[in-house]
Amino acid sequence: MLGSWQPWEFPNLKESDYQKTSEESEDYNCLAWAVHDNTKKWDPDELEQNYWPPGVPREVEIEAFRAAFRTKGFEDCDDGSLEDGIEKLAIYATSNGKPTHAARQLENGKWTSKLGDCEDIEHETLDCLNGERNWFGRIQCYGKAVGYMKRVRPAKQSAA
């Protein structure tokens, strides 16, 4: 089942790697989805059009992303291994160190991602979303997972 993204945006994503779990939507994005929020976009845009936690620098920097997730109870951790009762996030960044995406680990060890304005997917691994600039040199892919955070898994998945 193909999604609404362009194939070159995810050069390593095969159909067998994922399942779509929602329709496409511009109502929220990956950072919001990572913290169970499907009501708004989290985006540190400089013109302050989108939500960004108060007091966190509006910067596309890994440390700013970590600070944003800390407002939801996450703390830094070493890896994305599955642990009982723990919910983890993976932060993706390109080779220039700029963060691009966040994925959330499900209880079954798979990951869930909102792909920009496209669909949510459940994916087997973090690596299947890896990619640097595509061969046109124009599209910026997600890079790869470079950092992890964790918190006690909420009792209800729908609660932020």
Partner: protein, 148 residues
């Protein structure tokens, strides 16, 4: 015929304004250039300018939609694309067309709207809530008398 401009004449006087207009644009001070004819000329000129703006805007929108990546998580990625920046560069003339596109579909027009207008009808507590942002910006456009 040269017009002797009397500094005591008032710009509130339409006959005097017409006299100056004809002088500035090199027209004979001919009574056939009535206010109505001038009105028709300026209306036609405005319409042509508007059509030029619309054609250019539509070209840039198509270019932007082809360039943008929908998988990007951040509005700044698509707002930094050249076509989008050219739309911002069109300034206030682009606003009715941006509002027209926004009225059809929720897309990343908020960056351009704020950059051009330097206004923001979305209160801080509603940032990122797209359907509400869309509604508030369309209401803003109506309040500002933009037609789309």
């Amino acid at each position: 015929m040269d017009v002797q401009i009397n500094p005591n004449q008032s710009l509130q006087n339409p006959d005097f304004v017409l006299l100056v207009y004809n002088q500035v644009f090199g027209r004979p001070n001919d009574p056939r250039y009535t206010a109505m004819q001038l009105d028709e000329e300026s209306t036609a000129l405005l319409r042509a300018q508007r059509e030029d703006v619309e054609v250019k805007f539509n070209e840039l929108v198509n270019e932007w939609r082809a360039q943008r990546t929908r998988a990007s998580s951040f509005s700044s990625a698509n707002a930094s694309l050249p076509a989008y920046q050219f739309i911002i560069g069109m300034g206030e003339k682009a606003l009715p067309y941006i509002l027209r596109e926004l009225s059809k579909k929720d897309e990343d027009w908020y960056w351009a709207l704020k950059a051009i207008s330097r206004e923001d009808p979305v209160p801080a507590e509603h940032r990122g809530k797209r359907s509400l942002m869309r509604q508030l910006w369309l209401e803003w456009g109506k309040a500002k008398k933009y037609a789309w």
